[in-house]
């Protein structure tokens, strides 16, 4: 039976109480139907949703994560947490991209408490999109086995404190308008800052996790990570300077400094 063969993704939604949860309620009240793949977690504000929550969901094998908040300027709080949600989600999507996962696996939408039909529309469309993507790690361009997936997600999770600091510092636009946020996160400046504040650390984090398994040469690391030897070399040298790794001259391998 085709129904059994059909991929039924696991999806997690983290939605704010005031708008998106209300929209999901109204969707129910209006009896709009959508596939039964998603499970919702309620928070008070989409600005409460943390990188750690999302990465944990993926580490648990969720195929997609949905974050739902109030429309811009409709936040229930004067802190306007939905702007923080944009920044967090954009950074998280970039993190996913860097560890070889499709950024579409994380989606942010605004749904007001009056938009039941919109909630249903998004659920239907997103479910179909994730079904097309396939299980986590197996979409086109992903191709990661379970072990590799776990390793990469762990590397990303270790970065959470740094990403948080970056998000409160330079990794966000100066002006709070939707347009400014859209432009900032689509721009080159964001990518440059991401590299500087998060990206390089992520690379190091991935190298350290590989070295945790056993010492490896630059070439081995480059092959495993799919990066150029010079790039790997740049990261291991800076890690070596910070005292995180050491070079074993005899074997021509890098290993963890503490190991």
């Amino acid at each position: 039976m085709s129904a059994e063969l059909e991929f039924r993704p696991k999806m997690l939604g983290i939605v704010c109480n005031w708008c998106c949860y209300g929209g999901a309620d109204l969707c129910g009240v209006s009896r709009f139907q959508y596939p039964p793949f998603i499970r919702l977690v309620r928070v008070m504000c989409s600005g409460r949703v943390d990188l750690a929550h999302i990465l944990r969901a993926f580490a648990n094998g969720m195929d997609a994560v949905f974050v739902g908040g109030c429309h811009i300027n409709d936040c229930h709080y004067v802190t306007e947490g939905n702007y923080d949600a944009i920044a967090m989600v954009e950074v998280c999507r970039e993190l996913l991209r860097r560890i070889g996962l499709r950024p579409e696996r994380l989606r942010l939408e605004w749904v007001s408490a009056g938009e039941g039909i919109r909630f249903a529309g998004i659920m239907n469309e997103y479910a179909a999109q994730v079904q097309k993507l396939g299980p986590l790690g197996q979409a086109e361009g992903e191709g990661l086995d379970q072990a590799e997936l776990r390793l990469r997600l762990e590397a990303a999770t270790r970065l959470v404190p740094f990403a948080r600091l970056a998000l409160t510092g330079r990794l966000r636009p100066g002006v709070r308008t939707e347009e400014a946020y859209r432009r900032f996160f689509a721009g080159e400046e964001f990518r440059r800052l991401f590299d500087e504040l998060v990206g390089d650390r992520l690379a190091v984090s991935r190298i350290l996790l590989l070295l945790r398994e056993r010492p490896r040469s630059t070439a081995e690391l480059a092959a495993r990570l799919g990066w150029s030897a010079s790039e790997v070399s740049r990261h291991v040298k800076s890690s070596s300077k910070q005292g995180l790794v050491r070079f074993d001259v005899a074997r021509g391998c890098y290993s963890l400094a503490g190991g």
Binding site: I14, F32, P36, M44, R56, D84, A120
Partner: protein, 1023 residues
Amino acid sequence: MNKAPDTDGFGDVMVVGGGISGIQAALDLATAGFKVFLVEKSPTIGGKMAQLDKTFPTNDCSMCIESPKFIECDRHPNIEILTYTEVERVEGRAGDFRVTLAKKPRYVLQDRCSGCTTCVSYCPVPVPDPFNQKLSSNKAVHIYFAQAIPLVPYIDENCLYLKEGKCRICEAVCQKDAIDFNQVPERVEVRVGAVVLCPGYDAFDPGPRNDYGYGKFPNVVTSLDFERLLCATGPHEGEILRPSDGRHPHRIAWIHCVGSRQVTPGGHGYCSSVCCTYIQKQVILTKDHDDEAQCTIFHNDIRSYGKDFERFYQRAEKLPGIRFVRSYVSVGREIPETRNVTIRYATDDRGVQEEEFDLVVLGVGLSPPKDARRLADLFGLELDEHGFCRTDPTNAMRTTRPGVLVSGAFQGPMDIPESVITASGAGSLVGELLDRRRGRLARERVYPPERDVSQEEPRVGVYVCHCGANIGRIVDVPSTVEYALGLPNVVHAEESLFICSTEAAQRLATSIKEKGLNRVVVAACTPRTHEPLFRDTLREAGINQYYFDMANIREHCSWVHSREKEAATRKAQDIIRMSVARACHLESLQEFRLPVDKRALVVGGGLSGMTAALSIARQGHEVWLVEKEPELGGMARRLHTTLEGLDVQAYLQDVVRQVYRNPSVHVLTGAAILETAGYVGNFATRVRAQGREVEIRHGATVIAVGADEYRPTEYRYGEDPRVLTQLELEGKLAADDPQLADVRSVVMIQCVGCRQEDRNYCARLCCGQAVKNALQLKRRNPATDVYVLFRDMRTYGFREDYYREAADRHVRFVRWEPEDRPEVEPATEEGRPVLRVSVPDPILGQRLALDADLVVLSAAVVPAATSQDVSRQFKVATGPDGFFQEAHVKLRPVDFAADGVFLCGTAHYPKHIAEAVSQAYGAAGRAVTLLSQDTVVASGSICRVEERDCVACGACIQACTYGAIEFHDTARGRKARVNAVLCKGDGLCNTKCPTGAIALLHYTDEELLSQIDAAAAEPARAT
């Protein structure tokens, strides 16, 4: 439904009419310590607002924002709701009314019915559904609408048994024996000190005159019919289908002013005030439903006079496929084959045309309630010439009968926020009258002491609700209960037909005690409406209310996966597993009570500020009234008369005198606010006045800083002394200034400084002001030529009468478009120096030249110069136009989002004196509901810092724009600390803290991650 009805009949206030205005009046009064009877003639509270699809200009879902107020009324220990009940007799006087009420039989016993609606499914008699404007059918026994309070069906006159003595199927199928055909009308006598009348309005009925074919052509509907067509709970579940053939109409026409602005028999002379904007809303929503729709709006003046209405109009106008056509239209005909309807109209450039539409929507106005006459006779009060309630010209809540107040649209046409404002205002006036009785009949609930369970292992109880068939038909409830029993820490699980019923709540409380539960999960509907109910039940059972979690298996499961029963059952089990995991991590939290300082601060000593101060003072509170000018009075000092003929100066002097005579009002003039700090119930404000500084402690703040008149730079203002503003002309008229002696011709220009890019709003009162001054000029000398050059005359409501009077007195109204403005040039005409005003004449196609001795500019109203400072000091927001921003445009129009701070007068938006005064009473009423409390309760779900982990980076402080987090010094150095009172519990700081030192209680990482982990875990085996 969980409170025992009081039958002793003693109360403080009776509110007649359970629409939004009555609901607000009842809630304010009950919270302020009065026992309220809320009497509604239909089977549920809710009124017209419940029938609307969305509300302008935010397009919020109307029912979603209104229905939580239903529940609030239902639960309030001081409100007794009497639906399906009418007033029969009123005796006595202010302070002691005896009212006889007649309760119609519902034939359904309210305390037995569980609202399962089995009777409805079995009833064989279809009837047109009154809630859906008879566009769809319901049954002779039905619940009025899904959110009805009480949620109990009633049997209407179409019932076969009532008509012919047969059937009784409902009686047979009811498992609760709740059907009772022996019910008879019941008389109840209640004693109250005051009455608030809020009977609302009736939509104008175009039926009797067959306006535009209504009643003859099926595809001509009223705007209220169209609201239901738009609505997801409407006759076609939100699909717009036309009545004749159930097809989607693509060419839709709206006709403005149906029944309004008409002096023909059967129509109303006044403007209904709300139709222009609700039609724009319907156009926007129609385009949301069908982006191919072609919408044509036949209109007269577009009256976008309210806050944000101008932008809303622009939004509608800019949509593709929308045409706004300024034209009167005439009766169309129906095309027999298609049943389409034609409309004849005329435009300046193309003359008379006839056009065909698939559907025609009549923008019907607001009529006085059908039973207005009866109500007036019962309560011994007068109606006005339009059939609405006659009110005091300086106080729109006062009727001609002492002790009987009026709020909402029975005062005259108004929209939702004004209905809410006047409700709170009527509440304040009742408070003035009955202050000594406050709190005598009011009850407070007493809960048993809480058992400390913090050292116990979690013992979770899971209650799975069938919700009648709503959940049970889709989700396999018995196997879900079995499943729940197999989850870690679950010691008890059971099913319930309706867990929200009074009976089930009691059983829940008992089983918490008997089974020694310390965590409760209810798997039922949404926590957004029902969490407070169950938290309350936990308190009744003696455990902390935060040990509760709700698994939403209805809105998020059975209702949205109704075609996949097995998958829905698995999902329900997953949701419960997540809830149980979370419940195990929940902590006991204390809501704390903060004392309320009983004094108030009113900022601004204009009419609004003084009125608010007086009303608060008359309810036993000390008030500080702070005014920056050396004298009280504000803008009213420059006004002399109103359109309705009020002597403003005499009125103002009287109010100022009352302020100075009231020993509880402390006036500080020439005052500047230096600083304000604190939070709801406990503010401290430093003020410098006349060289000395005082610190005022107060529990509530009212912002009434007013607005300013725009200083024009246009039309030679300031260059030529013959160019004045309307306020200046008003001053000269009052003083009989010699400049007016030889004036033969006056030209007034509207919309000076507003309705333009940099001030994209309508200043609301200038049209009325121009008509007022024009009439004054005509009364002085009928030979004076007066021209009003306007864009849209916005004499909304009863002001329309004066607009008509001005036209009758030969004031000439000439319309201009913003692309081609009037111009003013000095000139000489037959030796007389004049100002030559030229304005394009669209009919003649050339410019009209008018020679004037005076040019009078209707200058905009702009936000007060101090408003930005006030906004910063009091941490309250201003909107895009610089006026102060209320907490919710519809339902919290005088509250700020910041608790304990209230708003009134032109600081909110330009408004006429009577409107400002109503709002001032509204703000006073809201402030007193707070000040009459001894304490305020703050949520336990706030942030807490684990000092050991805090590295004092300040990221949380930067994130919290509430200013709730500060550094303080400890033995281990500087650490962040949360001020529990200022923390609003959004949890933003949690995601900023690099060390995880700060946590939002009730939404901690531990709690959220446990849910996230449980979401992924493969279902455990049920034992």
